[in-house]
């Protein structure tokens, strides 16, 4: 009950703190208006201890007891300034964010820049409403540090950078200074590859005419472990015969001339669920790329010509990720 209220109040506060801001353009400077300071639980315990010491000093008329309390109280005040200073005027901007498959956490990189000629120690960054453990880091004097924040992904498409809390309790752990930021950054989430997919949609006669002259049909390039989707005629039967208990191996063929593969939306017509279909297409794409097989992609409204390589794969996966969402 109280927990719920607290969570709600906190959510309100975050909204208020980021009023009119999200998402913010880089670089985000944490100026004094957006750095908040409150005692930690330890700080409250410290204050309570001071009150008890004060009672003792009063009761026994200990002048040095008063001095002790006042010195420690001064220490508490000074710590406020140090914690505040540790955070204020830090600037942060989003870094590169590698695309991920849905289900694996996205890693948002944040680059923290410390323009001050002193090191900032013990900063903690975490996704405001997240569950992941905070990233702890120091930012060297006049330098940079980067933190990678994990955010779980569920669905494909663009994932906006979540709200970030950046806090510090340095130096004594008595005071917490914190700030919120919503950097303008996004991460592309590919569809999760299907765990089980039909065999690769081989098209033996596809673009036979394009085959270059004078080359043999298949340029054998190597072997890899057999996968369920591999065509049976590519199994290295001779190799399998030589070793009795070894795994089945699939022959790999280099070059664009070997087989033609069309990864086509229409090939998955049997399934109703668009996401499931995209998953299967993703799996095919990955398998084709792993086999070094060139492939083409046909999606409603989008065609990728036959090619292979990481750039081609990224293009294809991006097309699947954003399928149906309009322009990227």
């Amino acid at each position: 009950m109280i927990g719920t209220l607290r969570r709600r109040a906190h959510a309100r506060f975050v909204l208020w703190a980021l009023r009119g801001r999200p998402p913010e353009a880089a670089p985000i400077l944490l100026d004094q208006r957006r750095v908040y300071v409150l005692p930690t639980r330890g700080g409250l315990a410290f204050a309570f201890t001071l009150a008890v010491i004060m009672l003792g000093a009063m009761n026994y008329n200990l002048s040095l007891g008063y001095a002790l309390v006042f010195l420690l109280a001064g220490l508490g005040v000074v710590t406020i300034l140090h914690s505040f200073r540790n955070l204020v005027q830090l600037s942060l901007r989003p870094g590169h964010c590698e695309p991920v498959f849905a289900g694996t956490p996205a890693a948002f990189t944040l680059i923290l820049e410390n323009a001050r000629p002193e090191k900032r120690s013990g900063l903690r960054l975490f996704v405001t409403d997240g569950i992941a453990a905070p990233v702890e880091l120091d930012v060297p004097a006049g330098g940079f540090a980067s933190a990678s924040l994990q955010q779980p992904t569920q669905r494909r498409g663009w994932l906006a950078c979540p709200r970030i809390t950046i806090e510090t309790t340095w130096p004594l752990g008595l005071i917490r200074a914190w700030s919120y930021a919503a950097p303008e950054a996004r991460c592309l989430v590919y569809p999760a590859p299907a765990a089980k997919a039909p065999p690769l949609p081989w098209q033996d006669d596809f673009s036979r005419d394009n085959r270059r002259e004078g080359r043999g049909s298949d340029d054998f390039s190597g072997l890899r472990n057999h996968q369920a989707a591999d065509p049976l005629r590519h199994v290295a039967w001779k190799a399998a015969a030589r070793q009795e208990h070894g795994p089945l191996l699939t022959k790999l063929f280099a070059g664009s001339s070997a087989q033609q593969l069309l990864i086509d939306w229409e090939a998955t017509t049997g399934l109703d669920d668009a996401e499931q279909r995209l998953s299967i297409l993703t799996r095919w794409m990955l398998d084709a790329e792993a086999g070094g097989v060139p492939w083409a992609l046909h999606l409603p409204g989008l065609r990728l010509a036959t090619d292979h390589g990481s750039v081609h794969l990224a293009k294809g996966l991006a097309a699947l990720a954003l399928f149906g969402y309009g322009t990227p």
């Binding site: 880089a26 004094q32 330890g42 315990a45 410290f46 201890t49 008890v52 010491i53 009672l55 003792g56 000093a57 009063m58 009761n59 026994y60 008329n61 200990l62 002048s63 040095l64 007891g65 008063y66 001095a67 002790l68 006042f70 010195l71 420690l72 109280a73 001064g74 220490l75 005040v77 000074v78 710590t79 300034l81 140090h82 505040f84 200073r85 204020v88 005027q89 901007r93 870094g95 590169h96 990189t109 680059i111 323009a115 001050r116 000629p117 120690s121 013990g122 903690r124 453990a133 905070p134 702890e136 006049g142 309790t169 340095w170 130096p171 004594l172 752990g173």
Partner: protein
């Protein structure tokens, strides 16, 4: 908070143990030996667990040990409250808290206990050395807290940072120390805090008891005379303590229940001297006023035998503004019961002096002044020797002193003289207190130490009242005119500070005492009264707690504001290299070539050169310069200038 959830590292544990040691070691002299032993075992145990990476004891064990320790403290002191038992309990809790420290967060609780134990030191002593020790402990404890939050910095850096934090706290401390409205304690009773046996005068006097007190050089009180030129001569400095009219043949005693005057029973006009006395706590009520008091301090009373008593035993150092009448003989109209008491003698014993006194009585009849003169004459003729080491006396102690051994300290003189006068029918009583004192030329304070303890007689003469007679002065006038050292024969075992043979030592002693007195007066003795005086001097008329709080709030707010301003104003001195790079990328951005922060300079140059082939060479040169300046180990100003020129002349 992840860092605080990590198990305590070796370094954090070591710092915490150091903090615990720094907080508890100064308390060792005040704690029972079994507790010190137990604490030592627990600390060593914790250290072994830490350094050998053993598991902590099971969770149920520390509370059980704490319970056992508390029972031990209760058996020792019959209480769990109050000064010493309280500190003992805190030490026990600290030891067991140490056994419970598993993760870095737990360090805080132990550190707070350590801060509390620093106060414990002050309960027993607040001298300058103790303060230095406490500052050291604060440094170590603060460094331990720092280490709990960030364990990487090495020892020196950690101590330096702790020192910096504490040093920055000092302005706030000074401000609060001066302005925080003080309350005169105690807030609640301290029944069990009876001062354990101290040297000092007691309410009875047996042969040898004053000599015993004289063995200490502890300061009893310090006196600052208002007019430095009007310090009475040494022979008039009689600081009156217990008055002992009752004698049982061996021991003189104070009459326990005595009525007190509400106002001073004598005319306070006449030659007087004003002084301020800073009385050290001695656990008894005597205020040791200079004879005879002309003022009655607050919370004090004057008994009918003129003992100035505080209503509560003196447990704290107190400061009293006093005035003394130097030439007064009070009690001309004395109460017959008091006179009767001043004539009482045990039925038998000391026949020889009784015979001598009867002879005086026979010759001089009812003339007490003549009897007094005869007694003084008798004491002078007996050739008595003033010594700290008189022989032990038997049953008839006064006879043995006067006629056989003839050696004694002031209590022998006072006792015998008073006895003799009573035997001759003249009312007399023994007064104990301090005589003389040493003037410190550096700060003008007269310091009275235990070795200035003295006893003298007081004789009632009809029509003249009570007269002070010091029989010691008859045998050893230098005791009264100078000090105890001058009066004693060489080789007597005097306390170190009482010796005055080494001039440089005396000088050093004066210096140390002036420093320690300044500390007592201004730091330890900064009480509500002194606070009001100081603020009045600073122009704060009739300062009450409201104006003090307001001043405190305004001033500390000003310091805080100034510091905050400083924090925000110390504007980032930007990296010149970065400024140049930004200027360069801005120029390119105007032509649609965006630089992203994750791009390295060389990668970016390749991309930019592709899009702007006409300027490829320039772009590469700038990126190369930047990369070299940024990542190569040494940079020279000329390189920076070259880059600056290149960026300036770059026109995409």
């Amino acid at each position: 908070m992840a860092r605080l959830d990590r198990p305590v590292s070796g370094r954090q544990g070591s710092w915490l143990l150091a903090a615990a040691l720094a907080a508890t070691l100064p308390l060792v002299p005040y704690l029972p030996s079994w507790l010190i032993l137990a604490a030592g075992i627990v600390f060593t145990w914790r250290a072994l667990l830490l350094w050998r990476h053993h598991r902590l004891p099971p969770r149920f064990l520390p509370p059980l040990l704490a319970l056992a320790g508390s029972i031990g403290v209760f058996i020792e002191y019959r209480s769990l409250l109050g000064r010493t038992p309280g500190i003992a309990l805190l030490v026990i809790f600290l030891g067991l808290k140490l056994l419970e420290v598993r993760v870095a967060r737990d360090i805080l609780a132990s550190a707070l206990l350590c801060y509390f134990l620093v106060l414990g030191q002050f309960l027993f002593s607040q001298t300058i050395p103790v303060t230095a020790q406490a500052i050291f402990a604060l440094l170590v404890i603060t460094a331990a807290l720092l280490t709990a939050n960030d364990e990487r910095p090495p020892l020196k850096e950690q101590l330096a940072r702790a020192g910096l934090l504490l040093a920055q706290a000092v302005p706030f401390m000074l401000l609060m120390f001066l302005l925080f409205p003080r309350i005169e304690g105690p807030l609640w009773g301290m029944p069990e805090d009876r001062r354990s046996a101290t040297s000092g005068l007691s309410d009875s006097m047996a042969p040898g008891s004053i000599a015993q007190v004289s063995q200490s050089d502890e300061v009893v009180f310090r006196v600052l005379f208002k007019e430095a030129g009007a310090i009475p001569p040494q022979a008039q400095l009689y600081w009156r303590g217990p008055v002992m009219p009752a004698f049982d043949g061996r021991v003189w005693r104070v009459t326990q229940t005595r009525p007190a005057y509400l106002a001073l029973p004598w005319n306070v006009a006449g030659p007087a001297v004003d002084y301020e006395m800073t009385l050290e706590p001695h656990g008894k009520s005597w205020l040791f006023a200079l004879e005879l008091p002309a003022t009655l301090p607050a919370e004090s009373a004057l008994t009918t035998d003129y003992q100035l008593l505080a209503r509560q035993p003196v447990r704290n150092r107190i400061r009293l503004a006093q005035r003394a009448l130097l030439l007064a003989s009070p009690g001309r109209e004395e109460n017959p019961a008091t006179l009767q008491e001043a004539l009482a003698l045990p039925p038998d014993g000391n026949p020889r002096i009784r015979a001598v006194a009867a002879e005086w009585r026979r010759i001089h009849g009812d003339d007490p002044a003549a009897i007094l003169a005869a007694a003084e004459d008798f004491f002078a003729r007996q050739l008595l020797i003033y010594t700290l080491n008189p022989p032990l006396l038997g049953k008839d102690s006064i006879d043995e002193f006067l006629f056989d051994s003839r050696r004694g300290f002031c209590e022998h003189f006072a006792s015998a003289f008073t006895f003799a006068l009573r035997a001759a029918g003249v009312p007399a009583r023994v007064v104990a207190g301090y005589q003389g004192g040493e003037l410190n030329p550096l700060d003008g304070y007269l310091v009275v130490r235990q070795y200035d303890a003295h006893a003298w007689s007081e004789v009632w003469l009809r029509g003249q009242g009570w007269q002070r007679v010091d029989p010691t002065a008859i045998a050893a006038p230098s005791r009264i005119n100078e000090n105890v050292t001058a009066a004693l024969p060489g080789g007597e075992p005097l306390p170190f500070l009482a010796r005055n043979d080494l001039a440089w030592l005396r000088e050093l002693r004066h210096r140390l005492d002036a420093v320690s007195n300044g500390w007592n007066q201004w730091v330890l003795g900064y009480n509500p009264q002194r606070q009001r005086d100081l603020l009045a001097q600073l122009g704060l008329d009739s300062p009450d707690w409201r104006s003090m709080t307001a001043a405190l709030a305004v001033l500390s707010g000003m310091i805080l504001l100034a510091l905050t301003f400083h924090v925000l104003r110390s504007h980032p001195r930007k990296d010149p290299l970065l400024i140049l790079w930004r200027r360069f990328t801005r120029k390119l951005a105007r032509h649609g070539i965006q630089w992203s922060p994750w791009q390295g300079p060389i990668d970016f140059a390749i991309c930019a050169a592709e899009k702007l082939p006409a300027r490829a060479a320039e772009i590469r040169a700038i990126a190369d310069d930047y990369a070299r300046l940024r990542y190569a180990p040494k940079q020279t100003p000329s390189d920076l200038a070259q880059l600056k020129a290149r960026v300036a002349s770059f026109r995409p």
